[in-house]
Symmetry: D2
Subunit: 376 residues, 4 copies
């Protein structure tokens, strides 16, 4: 009764490569854990160098893998932002699916170029806006879609950190260095790094299209070249309004991502730092705490649950949900069938909107907060 | 050993009158409890009618009290906003101290007129921005003053309610009726009712002067004539920035006033709904929970504490602190001495700033969020 | 339209005397605020001396007040425990109603003697187990009575403080001195001071009669003569079980009184330090947060609410509710009518049970935790 | 630059087998994720049948694997309790390391037999008291060891669930069936399933030896044969005291494991449902929130951290820490060196104590709560 190759028996694994994510690059390790957790992937090839010809190296890797019979089927790109598009192009041209870290690109123009390439290639393209992988975020979205909030009026979202409260990029801290460098990060600092996550989360849960925004970007730390704090007012299609705040200098904050959505009938409140519950308040009712895996959580979240209610799942599990959703899509493609309709993960459209969001914020702020439409 | 007039022995009480605050007017009852709690006042005269000649009635009352040997020394004004100034003028002209509900006036111009009258009269004028009476708000302010936060960079303040999420003013609900009526409330709806509280709280704790703001005012409820939700971006003298959100349609919110202040060295976080603790986070340290009456709370809060740490004090106690502070000032005046330097309560300057804040928000919003200076 | 004697017009006030509660005696000040808050009482006589002939002095006071035409109708007794009964006897013999601090007496035998005297006198006797005055405690009790929890299985109650974690009685701290002195406190230390509160709270909310207990009393601080920590297992009539923990050496605890009640259908969770909400969890449902004054709180709590939901009420307000309930009873008595059936406050029966609880705990602990019946 | 076998390059993986943990057995899936997360193991053999000759099947598996050159080096045992020892014996006799679910055995006698076999075999034996793998539990333990709490006085621990609040074993629910069956579970119901976790957690953090206990075990659900709720008083060597409560009928509870430890200088408070922070309160100081990965967390926790502070880690990560610690020990053994002194995981001694704890509780409860020594 001994079973060898236990999990291959259950599901054929996907051969995965990775570009970027060497030592000191926290996000690379996260992608690897996320790929491993549910056993859908074998990481078989990597290109972790941080030197300038990474793009060349990844071209080599893409070429070699494409030629191998057992070459990779998908690649994870976890480089600084400016490398996302050049690297992605190498792989998707060769029919290799792409799982790319966010934000999508260095500029909106570059992002659009990538979008065209993806479309013509036909590969699956996923963007790791990982917070959409949390089960209670799925629960929130399903509740909005089911009309449980009524018409949405307000969207209050924030993402507060403090790790850039001091000029640590001047001490050579690697994570800080590239994130505060426009050449590597693009036009957004905190905005690109975490503001896009906050925006994407709001977008994912509410389904509302952002029409226009007014932004006040600022670098509080002397000498810093990109915003380390951004205040944004938002107007959504249909009349909802909102505020977005992202900061990397909010002393005492770790990863304070919080989304509140207020409708005519009820509101939702979710916090990344305590992601296993979702607060739901009906007008005229009490605040209720819906828990991940709990009796009143619906199928949209239940399908992503690994351990019973009260046993917390965290960041890696949420991230792994993205990887597992992508795996469902890749396996369906492999087998020539449509993926389960419930499978969902952020992709190109999210990436383009994120880049348009950054661009609009930068433009609005440069015009002293003039209301600026999102140009897609 | 029986003692009659027990508390008079401890401190001579102040004869207090009240205008407004009849049945159904929640705030009048609060003022009365606040006046009573620490036994500094005797409420001996009242004029509670809500009819149009209240101003005339209060003129009569002011006249009569001024003539009596045992007439009132102070009056509490708890009418709708448009009556604050006319009523106040009646009393201060006769040398009667005024404790006035907020916002100060109906318009900024009217507020300025009142300010001149107060100055020439020499009476004590207090404005019940009652949240400044919470001990942990005093603690927060003292910590800012002592430099424990370093230079302030960010001020995030919000006040969320939901009691106006539906058009209850159309059903004749009394509290809603006047608060949504520009003739009685002035130019600000949520802004005047709770936004000024939020603004005043931020001002009180940080000491920072607001230079300019960009506002997006909105009435979500059809037919409503004043804002029921306002989003405001702020720029303070010295470079700090901030956001202010006030809403009366934030479903599931009761009285969600929260202030966060982030400095270069530390941050503070205080919530009105759990007012007995103050969260304090030093950069590179842990979040600490300073409690009212606790071992590490300083004298600024300790002097306002009635019961031991862990025994909660609430809204009425915070309100009573304002009344008791004013009592200290009145008693000092009576005795011809300067009040204790620690005695502080909101007054005319706060009221004027509040009116300027409303005016600037309305003007900015009318100009599609153009950054607008606070005109004092 | 000026009204003099405003509140007397609304309700005739009750003339109140006080014994004990001089300077440094925190609880005396609390009783005075509680009496004042809702304006039902005039404190007109006091006997605050802490010297040994206080009993004599209070006899004098009782005699004198009884003779006066405008003598006191009720007396508040806020002395150390051993004086409760002797002082109470002086007043009740003269037909003066008694509001007594807890625990009822020094010993169970003495408590029984008092009980007989109260019965024969016909006066109203209230015991300030003040936590039963919190609106959400009333809410909890009403929910239990309405069967919303089903059959109760478990009662977990605790009251944790840390102010006696060090031998401060040896430094002469006044509050600590008498509370750790068996001659003044009786047989229970933490047990008498706060354990009886915890027990009474559980009893009030659940309505369950405690049949037997097993206790482990201990003095952790060297030289202390009364328990500073007690662990108690409980068995209730009907089969429910429970734990009670009270401690005055639980480092980091302020006034951590918490009650959890688990039934076959639902559970309740209430914490004194955040008293304005009650957590309610149905089997198969979510945890719901019922708020004081909120839309789903019932009449049992609503009748005690002073300010809107989200504006916290605290310890003094809860205490004042006891005073106001007693006032209702006294006024009804004065007017020869039955009080409103909703009026309720702790009295003799609670006091006797509390003394029996202490006695049973002491006896059980002396017999190494043998299960011991409550002897009433 | 493509790297094949990426992770093997980093660390040679351990070949792992598994017995038990088929479909519907939640804990088997958890073990597999835990083994996978940090990439130290290859699960290459499994025996998942739930039929009566599982013991025989696992004997076959053990024999076969022992003969293979690439046979497994370690086995995870995730069967119902009564199979732990028979299965473990099959593997350890053949020199295969054992990772066993808790509690260790069916009876204390059987556990002792296993202990002797483990000792003579020399294999590594780990028991998955997984809560000891949470970083903040490690932090707590390190703080106790460093004397930051002073002398420990009190240990309050509880583990509350509600999934057995109704007689679901009578409906055939698989998890409930064996856990309420003495033949499969042993003498403890809730006690064995979660009480041993609570006990082990207290033991791990405090290091205190439990000398004696007084227990009140009960089955609230009619027809249930094992305790579904247990109340335990504890006395530790050195004088500390404590309470342990475990329940599977605590309506509204999910996995409410909480440990509080109070010392002469400070206290700690940790909750499994929010495991990423540890509350630390010094006498005379504030409550501080130490966060996983935060600036003031020490090395004992930091070595187990995967993602930055504020990004939550959960149950699987804590479980995986146990697996990764065991992997360190196995790799060290393989390489003939001592493992890093910081490597720690629960093992035989914990398992024996757990069985002794169950036995003492059952004995005490049968003698109506008589204080009973732990017999090891």
């Amino acid at each position: 009764m001994a079973i060898t190759g236990l999990h291959q028996a259950r599901t054929p694994r996907i051969r995965l490569g990775m570009v970027g994510g060497g030592r000191g690059a926290f996000i690379g390790a996260v992608h690897r854990m996320a790929a491993r957790l549910d056993d859908h992937y074998d990481l078989v090839a990597g290109c972790f160098s941080a030197d300038p010809d990474r793009s060349l190296a990844s071209a080599d890797m893409a070429q070699r893998e494409a030629r191998r019979k057992d070459g990779i089927e998908a690649v994870a790109i976890v480089t600084p932002n400016h490398m996302h598009v050049p690297v992605a192009l190498q792989f998707l041209r060769r029919g290799i699916h792409v799982i790319c870290d966010k934000p999508l690109a260095h500029t909106l123009a570059e992002a659009k170029r990538l979008a065209r390439a993806v479309e013509s290639s036909g590969v699956i393209f996923a963007l790791t806006h990982n917070y959409t992988g949390y089960p209670m975020v799925r629960q929130a979205r399903a509740m909005v879609q089911a009309g449980e909030l009524g018409d949405i009026r307000l969207v209050q979202v924030e993402y507060a950190q403090d790790w850039l409260a001091e000029p640590i990029e001047q001490t050579g801290q690697k994570q800080a260095l590239w994130r505060t460098d426009p050449a590597q990060s693009g036009a957004g600092g905190a905005l690109g790094d975490i503001g896009t996550h906050a925006f994407n989360l709001a977008r994912f849960v509410t389904g509302l299209r952002l029409e226009a925004l007014s932004a006040d970007l600022h670098s509080f730390v002397p000498g810093r070249r990109l915003d380390d704090n951004s205040h944004v007012l938002m107007r959504f299609a249909g009349g909802a309004k909102g505020m977005l705040w992202c900061s990397q200098i909010a002393t005492g904050s770790e990863n304070g991502l919080r989304l509140r959505v207020f409708g005519t009938k009820a509101s939702l409140d979710w916090r990344q730092e305590e992601p296993n519950s979702l607060l739901y308040s009906q007008l005229g009712g009490e605040q209720r705490r819906i828990t991940r895996g709990g009796p009143t959580a619906g199928t949209a979240s239940a399908r992503l649950v690994r351990v019973p209610a009260g046993h917390p799942e965290g960041y890696v599990e949420g991230f792994a949900n993205i990887y597992s959703e992508v795996a469902q899509a890749i396996l369906a493609r492999r087998e020539g069938r449509a993926p389960d309709p419930e499978v969902t993960f952020p992709g190109l459209a999210d990436g383009l909107e994120g880049m348009a969001f950054i661009a609009a914020c930068v433009r609005s702020s440069a015009r002293n907060g003039a209301w600026t439409a999102l140009a897609l």
